[in-house]
Symmetry: D3
Subunit: 254 residues, 6 copies
């Protein structure tokens, strides 16, 4: 199956990232995967939610928001403005939060809350996976700043990235754009760390169900894409002077 | 790992179901999986949501609600009463709807809406999977009634069931009760049809991530449990005079 | 006037009750009055609402909820889900709370809150009166458990029951089913204890007003029905080993 | 029992009313019963709510609102402002609407909606009964204007008034002020037309229950008070040139 | 340009005010400017909002509400009832609060909160300016009562009043009524103290923009009107025995 | 008074603008005034709000939103998320809408709606004025695209810009940054077109009131700043190939 943007079925989209795009947040990146653009910021506040106070542990949470004109077609209302958030937005921001908490040793973080804001400025499919992958960059930049200033000891585990896979007719495609996602029979999102360490798998058959073998093939394809993305993360952070090995939480605090 | 209720690690909980428990709904079942009790009703209404009108196709949607005293410990507020539904409830009812739509040929259903209400009366883990498995029973009973009366032609594909698997330390356990779920490092819910036809996989590592091999083992264990549950569904429905083969949607309408 | 279900004008509907139907609540009953079915649970929590703290007194409150398919005709939206509760639901749950508080010596209860949840599973008129009468059964079962375990001293006054009366054309009918209620010119609900001790009277002329004599007749008919219901309550509780005399609050704490 | 304001136990409060106080509404009155002050307006609009369209019948509805400083003690938040209306406010405005609909021949009114707004400016008990009694005055003034201009044919039945009765210790008191209401064991509100035609009875025992005989005594006392109030209504309206007999709906349209 | 009510272009409307109209509030006035009628009450409570506690300073806030029948044309829904307040209402009550805070030495007031409720009973344009001007009268009456009783030391600065100016075609008009406001190209509201001390200017060109010279002319006209209104305030308060000079905050506490 | 950023009292902040930053919107700009950064997009949709249909006229509206980390200090909750918008946000977006509608000949626009989204990414005072000035750039870029493609005839009047002025002690300062705004006694925002054509003036004395002369001085200073900004707008648009003269609405359609 030929893809509109000329990619092979097993290729992720090209990534561009502008670290420090947002100057107030402790960490930030303007993250582009093809035509999907997400502004990811990591804000660090002292203190934790009420139900965590006194446990000596930190917290990480995420918010996800579509810009009203993120679609090329037409303007949409801001989700959740003056009314309840849609189930879709809630699902996505819960997913981002779980995915990035897996990258953090909350004990080593101490009683701080890190909030990852993912504002989707332009959308062409894959906004939740871009939010996770870009969100990790913002998180690592904030961690670097905290540790460099001596405000915290190292608290990261490993890079975390996410990508989608879809089954369209009999083809498996990596990193779907909007029109591919719309036409897919099965849509799967995978979040993982380096070394095929899986954090989250969410696969849904909207059309015909998937066989056991197809499920395996989709997971494999996703993990190959995630390996590419975590290499990109290490390289981009290195260019900013951030060495993830020095931000790694020590064994004893796990 | 010994389980409190004496089950083997690969055993699902014992199921009891009271078909027709709710006398007003077109189909209903009081469904018990161990100490989890869900009242599932299927209500059939003429017409479809506004965005589907005129497509000659039907719709199926689901609502999920915890009884305020579903926990043995203490009473909780009814979620979403006089305020927005929690993200958890929204995620669950979207999952139930997707899972059971996969069992239905919406074209063959015609412009009707089936609503599956899953009221969790007592909760001991696995409420979303019990809602799917019990929800299919209510759906099949309603389909039987519609078809028998000549109000609709057959519109079901296959039994659909759901079950959870968890990884606790180094063990994989099928069909987690509450305390097992709370302690699991990885929690996975799988929805499938007969014949290992997977509809949905949702696996989340709350603690350490899962390896590729563990992911495979969890899916396999879940599918073995689902095979047991779909046999139970066929048998229970047969006892009510419902033959799923006669409710099967014809090829041409797929 | 002949009644569809063959009852005399002065007969209440047949009652069935399944005590302990809900296994988590401190007290519960699945209560059926004809085709009206209400699941009543009594949950006991330590502590009282903020405005009562420190008065050495307990509290009792009630919630009422219609199952979306409680009507035989069609599914309705859950009242108050993701929006404000309707006035009708609020009126009814305030009534249930007032009625059952009258059965309780709040001083003797101590700083506990009892919540009576009345979930109407199937509705054929008289859901609020069934909630009061069934709610008392759940309350008494919870009281029995608290007292037997030595967690509280006796705190009940007397059985409390409720019933409706209607005027249709020139007839007075006891315990209206839905179609009778819909056609009544006057609709009255009475809550009382044994011995014609009236707790609440609510009579409304929807059509022509009622004369003084008709009002008297309606109250009398309701009180005769309540006498039948309180005898049923004593008898059903005795079958569960509950002796209301032993749960009676002592004089000094009134 | 001596009353603070010197009234006999069977005396209603002195009434003052300023007809036409609000110059924009079709009918209005500033109504004072002792220290309770309610601004009642009747607004007439063409058309009826969606569920009544095409039935050739009109509608009457009511809104009730406490001014934030209606209490002499302190300012309270406006009920329902930027949030859901309290159950109390909803109960009261539903009562006012039912009570005044009983005064109107909706067929004769034609497809119009009359809205009675009852704004309690100052409160000393009895605000719901003052709203009904004053609301009828505003309604009659609006009816007079409609009929005189030939915009509608006569559509009223009879004056409607409301009053409270309370049992305090062993005394029955008519038309309770705030402190009497607060201390009453039983509180009853009665709405009736001339000639002891009862529209609504709502009696609640907050403390000890009421006997059958006490209930009778309370109804009798309330009806004597209502007779006084309907005479006052006729007289006050006559002073404004309004003859209720000329506004009376004709037999055939009942 | 001839005005419907015969006023010169530079004349404000005639004012009538009934001090003490609301008997429960510490200060109140029923304020009429032509056909605009506002009930203004000032309520004094001990304590301040959470964010001001411990600063030794008081607070003043305002609420604005239109009566549903304030328009002569037809009844409107109460703004903000059971839903969010409109932006218009919020803007107006923030303006009233700012305007009247300028009249108060908050330090001298001490840790009290004064709430000015402005209920517009009848509306013919200029409701926000009438609320400010009438609101000051209620405030001064409340201040007089506090100071006379020795509950507070003097805390007022100067009378504050507000008025509108509009540009219609080439004319500048003072104190617009509704139809003038609707047709104006530019609409300006000015709040000031005696001596042309400006507190707030809000001018908006709805049609063609205003030149620098027109802006000056509008401000001048508004200030002449405010001078008339503050004289009226002093005179009316004097008639109630209130001498503003004795309520004036002392220099040192500014 | 020396300013922290070295500007003279009468200097506006340096402006940077990235036209076309958002690739989906019909017009967009990333607008920086000092440390205040606003993403402005103009989206054009066919059709108008319900109350304008059939008038042959278009509409322009605006939304304003602070990014949760727009403050350098700490993260704030997104205003209006899952609850009502604050009065501040509503005031600001109403102001932006009014200001930019003044730049548009709505008749010439035809039955289209233009929505200006102003997302404040970083905030250092002056976010509402930056939204107006940047919003005009996005609007002009969208107009250019519509006209160039022949989708609409020219519909703009003139550049529109906004700026703030403050009085701190005895100094008047142009274009306040956050700390200056916080300390100002008087804060004024002015919106105007080229040639000192004033669209909106909003001045508020938070501390001491302003004299007539000070008011004049503030308006003059603001207008000088606006002249600078409209020159910048013309120049920046010219660099994008946009000639405002060619987008000017023709006389006859005014």
């Amino acid at each position: 199956m030929a893809r509109k943007d000329g990619r092979a079925q097993t290729d992720p989209r090209a990534i561009e990232a502008v670290p420090g795009f947002h100057r107030n947040a402790e960490g930030s990146v303007l993250y582009r995967a093809g035509n999907t653009v997400v502004l990811c910021t990591a804000s660090v506040d002292m203190g934790v939610p009420a139900w965590m106070i006194g446990k000596g542990s930190g917290w990480l949470t995420a918010e996800y928001q579509m810009h009203p004109r993120s679609s090329p077609e037409k303007r949409e209302a801001r989700d959740g403005r003056s009314k309840a958030l849609s189930g879709r937005t809630q699902e996505i921001q819960r997913l981002i939060g779980r995915a990035l908490r897996a990258a953090v040793d909350l004990k080593a973080l101490g009683e701080r809350t890190i909030t990852i804001d993912c504002d989707v400025l332009e959308a062409d499919g894959g906004t939740r996976t871009a939010s996770v992958t870009g969100g990790f960059l913002a998180l690592a930049l904030a961690a670097h700043r905290l540790v460099r200033r001596g405000d915290a000891r190292p608290f990261l585990h490993s890079p975390v990235a996410a990508i989608s896979v879809g089954k369209i007719k009999n083809d498996l495609l990596l990193d779907l754009v909007y029109v591919e996602d719309r036409d897919a029979d099965v849509d799967m999102n995978v979040v993982a760390m380096e070394g095929d360490q899986v954090i989250e798998v969410q696969g849904t058959a909207e059309g015909a169900p998937m066989s056991r073998a197809e499920l395996d093939g989709m997971v494999n394809l996703a993990l190959s894409g995630i390996a590419t993305l975590t290499r990109m993360q290490r390289s981009l952070l290195a260019g900013e002077g951030v060495d993830l090995n020095q931000l790694k939480a020590q064994q004893e605090s796990v």
